[in-house]
Symmetry: D2
Subunit: 352 residues, 4 copies
């Protein structure tokens, strides 16, 4: 069952990204949930809220925890998210008396949101590296082709001669700013969520802030001013960044599509796609994918912004909307970066 092209065995080759997609699979979610519950137990033990032996037992037992999936699927349907039953299964797995102390003071959203942030930490590193590698490839293209000539085109009409370097500059400019933007937003995004049922950390007996601090340290995350479970601006901001990235690459892709028109012949690639009706054709597949992914993320961004309207202390509908949209935006951007890089490496000619 592969409703999304990103999950499709064939189309994912065209638009997806297996490496980054893995962070949105169940194994990665489970791993993050285990990391959260383990570190929470340890933080609670340090704060004197649960016995130290319980924290140790939780850490020990969760190492080889695997949930019963059929039950978990049914529970997810019933509860609207997987955490309540996952925690119940974890508690059973740890067993009495220690299992009882697992998930102390926390709520499902703490596990889910912090678990997502933990996975994004790794994704951000991958994306950042890809951005740097792409910029290197563009620099290399500038060395190879920068002095070549192009026809500058405005409003689809021939304007004045420019160099390949001139056009490359318009592709790298946004990407360099995107790298700077990522540095700015990263500390806002890489923060712990720990709020308990209604975001007040009420169950920690006034030791919530201590637990949060210790937990953040253990997980390598920043400590927010207060729980942010209904404040989705950091995700919306990151979604915007993802769509800025795909947008910049979409412009690059669109330009290369136009340059590769036979009548212009301003771009050639070592690899190009074939046609079932015309085997001689060389289609600029990667460039097309960049345009498609840019327009895709631009549309999905709208949904992430709608999801900011997160009523009261938790909106099931707004939160579910994020789940439907956000992973795809991340994979679209990560896959675009990889594809743009491969495309630049396969360029055999730019300009004249």
């Amino acid at each position: 069952m592969t409703v999304s092209a990103f999950d499709h065995p064939l189309l994912s080759q065209l638009v997806g990204d297996d490496e980054v997609a893995a962070f949105f699979g169940f194994d990665a979610e489970l791993f993050a949930a285990i990391a959260f519950e383990t570190a929470l137990a340890e933080a609670c033990a340090e704060a004197g809220l649960i016995p130290k032996e319980s924290a140790a037992a939780i850490a020990e037992k969760l190492r080889n925890f695997r949930p019963e999936m059929v039950r978990l699927a049914a529970a997810t349907r019933r509860d609207g998210l997987m955490v309540p039953d996952l925690v119940a299964q974890m508690r059973s797995h740890v067993g009495p008396p220690h299992g009882h102390h697992l998930h102390f003071g926390a709520t499902s959203q703490d596990v889910t949101d912090t678990g997502l942030v933990l996975r994004l930490a790794e994704v951000l590193t991958i994306i950042q590296n890809r951005l740097a590698t792409l910029l290197d490839a563009l620099e290399e293209a500038d060395r190879r082709f920068g002095a070549h000539k192009l026809t500058g085109v405005t409003r689809m009409q021939r304007a004045l001669p420019i160099s390949v370097a001139d056009r490359l500059r318009t592709w790298t400019g946004p990407l360099e700013r995107h790298a700077a933007r990522l540095d700015e937003l990263r500390p806002r995004l890489m923060v712990l969520q720990l709020g308990g049922a209604v975001g007040t950390r009420h169950a920690f007996n006034a030791r919530g802030d201590v637990v949060a601090q210790r937990l953040a340290e253990r997980l390598g995350l920043g400590l927010p001013a207060h729980p942010w479970h209904v404040e989705r601006d950091n995700f919306a901001e990151f979604a915007n960044w993802l769509s800025l990235v795909t947008g910049a690459l979409g412009k690059m892709g669109q330009d290369l599509l136009l340059m590769s028109q036979n009548a212009l012949g301003e771009a050639s690639f070592a690899e190009g796609g074939g046609s079932s009706a015309m085997p001689h054709k060389q289609n600029p597949i990667a460039a097309e994918a960049l345009v498609a992914l840019a327009r895709f993320n631009a549309a999905l961004l709208s949904a992430m912004h709608q999801a900011q309207i997160h009523e009261n202390e938790r909106s099931g509908s707004a939160w579910t909307l994020e789940w439907l949209v956000f992973p795809q935006m991340v994979v679209a951007a990560a896959g675009s970066l990889k594809r743009a890089h491969d495309m630049m490496l396969s360029v055999t000619a730019l300009g004249r």
Copy 2:
């Protein structure tokens, strides 16, 4: 790897639809491609364009055809779609001399678009049945609760008393119109695509229209005035219909969320989701999903409309954009209908 919630082993329980999702899996695509190539060969044979024995051999051999997937994945990446290599593998599988006549005069888009239409034929039946079943459930709710009282609320303020029947009427009204709309758009959507490389059926030696007619008959599809490969209005129109359906159900879900507020107590359900922090709570999970799916489809619809700008005789980027968006919209609508139906069956009280 499950980037989309619709493909996720747990979240698909919450927002997905396994029955309809199956039509977007590879097996269903392959089955549709085989049906297309088989019927095309037969139509070409009838038109005297290929030997009758070739058509028979193609039909016979394709029955047990399974492609080599690793090669197909690599080819999809290279070609931007799976058909060129799929056809090549089909031809090898049929073998000389008949394999050569497979895919006569057609292009990849003919297989892909017609294959999608063939699968949608079955999906439409499922969706239509669900719509009817949901209307039945709403009628049943009207019988059970219609005479109960509700506080009519305008602009979130108490207005005047109404009956449950009054509010139910606002839920069924759009759904009844959606059923009528589906009847109107179905003949536009259920049509063959057969155009060849550039949509002119040039390779059929002036017998293209005959082939198209026979092929449409064999596949049980309508015959369009001309090939429509770059005319995406029928898909955009259907996407709109899908978002009209999720929108109507989103309004129902939103109303039920508001009615189920504890301070109002105007709606109760036999089933409700649990919380990891507050086991006593009963969350209206299905109603939330309806709202989330409505907002999701509303955002994705924008991308389907962007994809209408399909340049020249085929736009790789616009077409890829459809693939990223369209299956999800179908599954969102189909799943919403199922969920709304289950929710109405689980209603234990409406109004007072």
Copy 3:
């Protein structure tokens, strides 16, 4: 103050449509409100709910009614819509004893929504005529240039020769279907809204259906099965139609932009825009506007679908969202049709 390009004294020349915009100006709204209140009073008099002399006085007095605008603006801000104070001013203007009977049994939304439908009736005629005229212009282009040759282009690569007629057919196909779709949706859209405070026509003393029938007849509108004030599917459906129209024209515009590239020279126009830096250039301005308006409507359509989630018996937020979006979509589509027509008339060459 011209926040929107459609209202801008200069940009409206480029993307707007003065003729259709007029239907969204205050005068047109006022005229529609007067028509509604006059016909409502007459229908109520016929149903014996108000004195016949009151209906006559209302009709007579409203003929020269002009509201006090400063007061009306302040009231709109306070009330969230203009009708409550407009009705109050109308009642004062009619004066006792008859003024009291004005707006009998109705609510603001009845005036606003029916008033919009009344104006759309005229807009639909204009749009339908423009669609027909554009199809004529395309037919004329086919006569003049249909036999000329073009390079068929798939995935931005030269494919096989086609004729201008082949490409024109991909432009007219969707437009012909749009004409058929308009016929289908028109009866759904052209219907009276009369519901009273919560949509139950409670204030008409069981004569609401009679009043509605008479009112619909007087206004030349269809009679819906029940009031539809929170059922926004007909507007969402029409918004989809508008974006289908701009999408079809956007594809035409995009094709013409590509054809008009100097290296191809497949399209020329009698008029083209100048540049402040390069006076010799001829920019295909109208084709660009078509693409921009297509992408604009595709984005706004998403908001119209979000606005379907119209909680309870009236959602101030969902309704306001429509007001922000809908008129622009109508003007974008109407203006696109006009622009596409003018562009086709100014074509001096297509193909070779």
Copy 4:
């Protein structure tokens, strides 16, 4: 003619913002264009590219320049933007021999984009002040009502008691981050655009960088690494910021709508809107507007991201798309801030 609610004499009271809208009116555009051309002439004179007397004459003459509007409107329609004819009229107005030196080396987009940035400089100050004032009002609300009790609500179900301060914190959190984000993006946005016909400053005889530096200084703008005419990320980023602001206020509005439900009575306002059918009602108009504007900007943001795909050295269609969308997003955000502030001032009770 008022297609947009922001330009409507009545609805602008509800959703618009006259103060900020003024920066998108023609007068403000003209004023910015005059500032640009004057400063450009002075910078060119300093760089020895045009006579100093010409710069002085240009500055002197432009002070009282008003274009002939009918001609300008026709030219805008023909050229796709107003600058070519505006410059021609400016040159005539200055007269020979100095008029000839006006607009030296520049292109229309330099005037338009830099002119927009100049106006945004003032808008940013207004918006920043409003954000600060709103935060003050929220702090004041915290002082007055922070200790009051609220029912914490998760997934629309009663959860645990919280304080008004707890909920206020979820409204201020995003706004504080938005203030920080504005500081980060401002230097990227407040930059000169000077590129000439194709972005290479070719007409400045190798003195383009000097001219750009002097021009940026004179206009009080930052100097970008290179012309950014086709790099629209800074506008897309700012559009995202605007939609983050409206999203945060939409959440606040949604919460207040829910809190003001009669059955809860957790929020009251000194002012509330009236109904034409039920004069006793007090509708939370401003809160509704906040939700509507949030959903509006969320949809429009998608179009700004689509507009990043800006082909070659200038895309008429992508640029026009920005004009259709961007001013509305600015006014929506500015108006939301003002409305949210007024609403907080009119709060008479929060919580119990």
